[in-house]
Amino acid sequence: MNPRTMPTSPDTTPTTTPTLAVNMPWLNWRQTLNLLQMEAKLDLLTLWRTPGFVAPSLIFPVMFYLLFGVFITKGGQSDYLLVTYCCFGVMGPALFNFGVNVATEKSQGWLTMKQIAPAPVSAYLFGKVVSSLLFALVIVMLLFVCAALFGNVRLYTSQWLGLAGLVLVGTLPFCLFGLWLGLTLSAKAAPAVVNLIYLPLAFLGGLWLPIHILPGFMQQFAQLLPSFHFGQLALSVIGRDLPQPWWQHLFALLIFTVVFGVLASRAFRQNRSV
């Protein structure tokens, strides 16, 4: 993992406070690997034992896709909507695992514990990224099976792979967005606020209904949303994106990644100084 992609705090002194960097001189690579593996395993276990997280994040995208992508539209848009519901689906674990769970763990003091423990906080965040990605992968696979069986979607293997890969990598800005929310929101407010952001973000970004059937002003507004660019970039894999160059979407997503990264790292420092 490149340490620079994680929120870093530039004003730390490595000897007194643990930094976010992974290169810890007191751990060899085998120990580092064990640590990361352990963090990922623990976070995954935590998620798995939270049915309130597992069920909705797995069931909602599949249910919505079957409803809108297969039955209501009679499969006419099953390939287009597969892509957008994949985007919608993977945003869920990213926003909730970071947004809601970080807020909860912060209020329980677990985050402070992590911050003062000799193990780096970056390992904790790494664990969350891994578990979010694993959930995202399961969601994507479930959607692919539904699309192939019920939506009669046929894509080249390169497209199936490309779509899965792109959608997984594309969760990163939403992980950072979630992290920022989790660090700034209280544990009580987090679930409501994250929902309030997640669902409109998906709908207005054209992930529930194709963007081109929304009114013109909403299409204009969508340009401001990361979900829109995420969806369009993914749609370019099957050649169903709007006539707008793909690199603009990529650029927009990079900007969102940087912005959310900066916001999250600032919130992180504030949290520690409390």
Binding site: R30, L33, Q37, V70, K74, G75, M141, F144, A148, F150, G151, N152, V153, R154, L155, Y156, T157, W160, L161, A164
Partner: protein, 605 residues
């Protein structure tokens, strides 16, 4: 990292790889729409007239019609004055593009159909995978140079029932409880209506296993609940009666074994059941005169080798008495007199039929059965459109797609349909398909295999078996140094086993420069070759270009080399002007499946 973690990692990677490789990919078979883009299309906006307009229901008299963006925008008694190009109708008859209510779509079916004015086809069983892309565009007016497709997709049949014998694996149904899910799956695949194959347990002759009456009823009920028509394939009166009783919306075949009884007539009338009698394909099973009379014996009709070949075929293996065809003509006439809707459908490309041209031939048979010319025209336009709920075909009115057929005096003579003057699909003129010339072959040696497996003429020789159709047979080819009278021959070691409906195993030789056009063997009289192998009877089969139905003749093989001379006249029905393939095959009736053959010195003279 421990070895356990490593194993888990590798396992996960392997499982992911398996998952992604199992996801379905697009069928790479060519979508015909892309292959024949017209070079010069007349504008999709124009004014045509004066014409004698038959709008699908009645003759309207002399009219001018205006087409804009592929749709009819105006129909007028007077000349239309505007800036659009004017096309002279020369007072000919203008009909809606015809609808063939019973076809099976593969290869270039949709391109061949509009050559004879068939601009919409109702498919009654095709590959569900190929169907979806071909259904596209039927609600709009793209420049596509092909017919619009409506399709049943996969048919509903019992395990090993009719429809399963073509080597294409399809889902089957056994019990009424499966009906709803089965129908829902067809609709999810894109089926426009549900086609069911049914044969009563009391049917006079049973050809295939069939679903039972309870399952038939359940499937029809499920189709209706999903808002789809249920049409039934039957081949005898008893099955027809049970299908109508079960609530079928239509029958996609007539029956020839008996004359229709009042009971069935009353029931069909009361329940408004339509019928597609498919006279042409039944005529080809029985009388086999119709195609000769109207098409094959006419020098002025330009037919492709493939069309000629298909129209010459018949279901000879059934040995049906020709007189039974009169029953079908009678049944069609009486049903029509009782007000039962008759739809023109060909069952192309079954033996004796070809896409496009067989619809005028079917219409001529409907006239022979006793329908008036106007009723025949309706049976191929407005009647199938209303029966199948097609909103985009069968009627010429303002707003309809400009699927137009300009023909001579069809009002008095249906044979005018065999020489259509001009055809438009979505307002775009249909260009004639120019079939490429078959390759020329020189008399004498085709192959001697002296040095290698390479042949002297044609594309070459290879092993072939029904394993390519999921059959059980096998064949392996090798070159051997010791041939007939010295150097070199080809050897095949194989086994012929039941599995596919038409088992084969042996050697295929392609005499032409391409499989599509084949080679012209019409100037020759004899094919000869040297052969030895496992003693027994074998078959030489000739394939005509574009057709998968060979014509075969038997020959005997012994342990010693012998030269077999076969007159080409033995292969009656093969289109010698375009032979795509010769197949030396073991016989499925051989006493034991394993065999070997050595083949050398193939001559044509």
């Amino acid at each position: 990292m421990s070895s356990k973690t490593l194993m888990i990692t590798c396992g996960s990677v392997l499982m992911l790889a398996a998952f992604f490789s199992l996801l379905p990919t697009p069928d790479t078979a060519k979508t015909p729409a892309a292959t024949t883009a017209p070079k010069t299309a007349e504008p999709a906006s124009f004014v045509l007239g004066p014409v004698q307009l038959f709008d699908g229901e009645t003759w309207q008299g002399q009219r001018y019609i205006e087409v804009q963006q592929g749709r009819i925008s105006q129909i007028s008694e007077n000349p239309i004055q505007n800036e659009l190009p004017k096309l002279d109708g020369e007072g000919m008859a203008l009909l809606p593009g015809l609808i063939d209510a019973h076809v099976h779509t593969y290869n270039d079916a949709l391109e061949l159909a509009p050559q004879y004015g068939v601009t919409t086809v109702l498919d009654m069983f095709m590959s569900a995978q190929l169907m979806k892309p071909l259904q596209a565009g039927r609600d709009e007016t793209p420049n596509q140079q092909r017919a619009d497709l409506y399709s049943a997709g996969t048919l509903v049949t019992a395990p090993k029932g009719h429809g399963t014998e073509y080597g294409m694996p399809i889902p089957t149904i056994e019990t009424p409880a499966q009906a709803d899910a089965f129908v829902a799956a067809r609709i999810a695949e894109g089926s426009d209506y549900i086609k069911i194959v049914y044969e009563s347990a009391k049917a006079p002759r049973k050809m295939f296993p069939s679903i039972d009456e309870a399952t038939l009823s359940a499937v029809i009920k499920a189709a209706k609940q999903h808002g789809k028509l249920a049409v039934v394939h039957i081949s005898d009166q008893q099955s027809a009666l049970e299908a109508v009783r079960a609530g079928a919306d239509g029958l996609v075949h007539g029956f020839i074994e008996s004359r229709v009884q009042q009971k069935l007539l009353d029931l069909m009338k009361a329940q408004k059941v339509f019928i597609i009698p498919t006279l042409a394909v039944h005529e080809a099973m029985t009388v086999r005169q119709h195609n000769n009379k109207y098409v094959l014996n006419r020098a002025d009709l330009k037919l492709s080798a493939n069309q000629r070949h298909n129209l010459k075929q018949g279901f000879t293996q059934f040995n049906i008495p020709p007189a039974l065809f009169d029953n079908l003509l009678y049944n069609t006439r009486v049903m029509h007199q009782h007000g039962i809707r008759i739809l023109a459908g060909t069952d192309a490309p079954n033996p004796g039929t070809a896409h496009g041209i067989s619809l005028p031939l079917e219409m001529l048979l409907l006239q022979q059965a006793g329908l008036s010319i106007d009723e025949v025209l309706k049976s191929a336009t407005s009647v199938p459109a209303s029966s199948f709920g097609l909103k985009q075909a069968g009627l010429l009115k303002v707003g309809a797609k400009a699927d137009l057929l300009l023909v001579g005096d069809v009002k008095n003579d249906l044979t005018a349909l065999l020489t259509p003057h001009k055809i438009w699909k979505n307002g775009v003129r249909i260009n004639p398909i120019v079939s490429a010339e078959a390759s020329k072959v020189s008399a004498g040696l085709l192959a001697d295999f002296a040095q290698s497996r390479k042949t002297l003429q044609g594309l070459g020789i290879s092993a072939s078996s029904d394993s390519m159709m999921q059959g059980q047979s096998s064949a392996n080819m090798s070159w051997i140094a010791e041939g007939y009278q010295g150097a070199g021959a080809i050897r095949v070691d194989g086994a012929i086993k039941p599995g596919f409906s038409y088992p084969w195993s042996g050697l295929t030789y392609l005499p032409g420069k391409s499989m599509e056009q084949g080679a012209d063997l019409s100037t020759f009289t004899t094919v000869s070759f040297a052969i030895r192998g496992t003693p027994g009877t074998y078959q030489l089969q000739l394939f005509s270009a574009g057709s998968m139905m060979p014509v075969g003749a038997d020959f005997s093989v012994s342990n010693d080399w012998q030269v077999i001379k076969m007159p080409l006249s033995q292969f009656a029905g093969a289109e010698l002007s375009a032979i795509s393939m010769l197949l030396w095959s073991a016989s499925p009736h051989a006493s034991k499946p394993e065999y070997f053959l050595e083949l050398d010195e193939i001559h044509i003279n």
